[in-house]
């Protein structure tokens, strides 16, 4: 097989043929998409492309000759778009489009659809592999719009994270890309929800149930990775909740980190699907987040000077606060953060690197707005005093690399951190490091 045609060139050709079909069958009042001259140039280009990419040129060549002659004749007589000689071409045009659609010598098109830039890590290494296989694949990244939610579950504000992605990535504009027309071979998502997201929600065009009709293969790579030991905690409630998300129903392929994780989800999903079906769709191939963890080291270029001054050669403790713990006991959680900050404000032998979950602030806003003033005041004071690091970047890997120990919630950051072998301590909201112990239950 010779050189492969680019996916976007192939889709452009099919798009123009479809437009022409519509122009020809459009009737007297139909406004043509293009002038006849443009279509003639397109046929000439198509002929050259068929030669270049070793398509069935003898077959297509004849059709293109006839189409060109008919179109030239019609254009000379001013008969575009509806005259009968062109109508006679309709069948040939459909045959040409159907033949080109089946051509094998075309690169696969993969579109990655992240919404939060801070969650790009869960698909980044797959994109890197696709992007480096330029001979067989065209890989695109299309950040999609999402909103945060009001307390009543309706959209509050819309966001697009385009500017938060690393520079130089080939980003497709969402507002100029119709995925149902582009129909990529593969679409990769990390958003599992439809309108069930409590904190934020993607635009409905990107719901898994919609996307499955826009591609041959919808692939879901979860953002979370679970602690194998904790999969069955509380009867596997967390697994049960996530397994109900739309992506588990509509995706053709679901990527899990470990076999234990895969098995836990299959067990839950077996209630609605056969094991055979699930084993054809769910695969424990490892998380791209682990690739990122293993490839990120301490690079001073990525550490702001101000942070270097704060660290000043001391040991660093990464303080991770998650949404899960917040939702379990919101009041206690906020007080625990206050207690921890107070402890490190006094204890200057080690440096605190506080990294709240990227959606924590939104969660407080949408689910417990009465706690927002207290939370915001606490963050503002911590930032203003600047004795510790406040990390609101999407880059948890830098925080993992630069820290010497972990303190905080047992979230997916902790799962990754545990793989570094550095000391870890899970925080307990009921324990106070400064002042009185909390007596009431969470």
């Amino acid at each position: 097989m010779g050189k492969m045609m680019d996916f976007h060139t192939h889709r452009r050709i099919l798009g123009i043929l479809a437009e022409m079909g519509e122009d020809i069958s459009g009737g007297k009042k139909h406004k043509s998409s293009r002038a006849p001259g443009e279509y003639l140039n397109f046929f000439a280009e198509l002929k050259a492309l068929c030669r270049e990419y070793d398509f069935h040129q003898a077959h297509y060549g004849k059709m293109l000759e006839r189409l060109t002659t008919t179109l030239e004749k019609a254009a000379r007589k001013g008969h575009f778009p509806v005259k009968k000689e062109l109508r006679q071409c309709e069948e040939m045009l459909s045959e040409l489009a159907a033949g080109l659609k089946k051509e094998k010598n075309v690169k696969k098109g993969i579109v990655f659809l992240p919404y939060l830039a801070s969650m790009w890590d869960c698909m980044e290494s797959v994109w890197q592999a696709a992007d480096s296989d330029k001979e067989h694949c065209n890989a695109y990244i299309m950040p999609i719009p999402y909103c945060n939610m009001k307390e009543d579950g309706t959209p509050n504000e819309w966001f697009l994270d385009v500017k938060k992605f690393p520079p130089g990535l080939p980003l497709l504009p969402w507002d100029k890309t119709d995925l149902s027309k582009l129909h990529p071979d593969i679409i990769v998502i990390h958003n599992p929800y439809e309108d069930r997201g409590k904190i934020n929600c993607v635009d409905y065009h990107y719901y898994p149930s919609v996307l499955k009709n826009c591609t041959d293969k919808l692939v879901y790579i979860p953002y979370f990775i679970s602690w194998d030991k904790a999969l069955q905690v509380a009867g596997g409630e967390r697994v049960k909740t996530l397994a109900n998300a739309s992506a588990f129903w509509h995706s053709d392929v679901i990527i899990m980190n470990t076999k234990a994780e895969k098995e836990a989800y299959i067990k839950v999903l077996e209630e609605w699907h056969t094991r055979k079906n699930l084993e054809k769709r769910i695969f424990a191939l490892g998380s791209p987040k682990i690739d990122k963890l293993l490839h990120t080291g301490r690079d001073k270029k990525n550490l702001p000077e101000k942070w270097q001054e704060i660290i000043d050669g001391r040991k660093v403790i990464l303080y991770n606060t998650s949404i899960q713990e917040f939702l379990t006991a919101p009041e206690l959680f906020i007080e625990k953060i206050r207690d921890t900050l107070e402890y490190f404000r006094r204890e200057r032998k080690a440096v605190l690197w506080w990294r709240p979950h990227p959606l924590l602030l939104d969660s407080v806003k949408s689910m417990y707005p009465e706690l927002l003033p207290r939370y915001e005041e606490m963050v503002e004071t911590y930032r203003a005093e600047a004795w510790g690091i406040y990390d609101e970047s999407g880059d948890m890997y830098r925080a993992i690399a630069w820290s010497d120990a972990y303190y905080g919630d047992a979230s997916s950051v902790a799962v990754l951190y545990s793989m570094t072998g550095k000391p870890m301590l899970a925080s307990n909201c009921k324990i106070r490091n400064c002042g009185k112990e909390e007596k009431h239950a969470g």
């Binding site: 290494s125 602690w227 000391p423």
Partner: protein
């Protein structure tokens, strides 16, 4: 050895059998997590670090 991204990509492109690719996946070992209760508290974690730091 290939990283997870390369392995997932090979599977999605149907170049290799997904079941076989699963066998190749060796996630790093999960470490131990101490739980903050009456025995372990935050000062102890700081102490561990400082001890290590002096020993280094």
């Amino acid at each position: 050895m290939r990283d997870n991204g390369e392995r997932i990509y090979a599977g999605l492109m149907e170049r290799e059998d997904m079941q076989k690719l699963e066998e190749e996946n060796r996630p790093p070992r999960e470490g131990d997590f101490r739980w903050e209760d009456d025995k372990y508290k935050l000062p102890e974690l700081v102490e561990i670090l400082l001890r290590e730091s002096k020993g280094a």
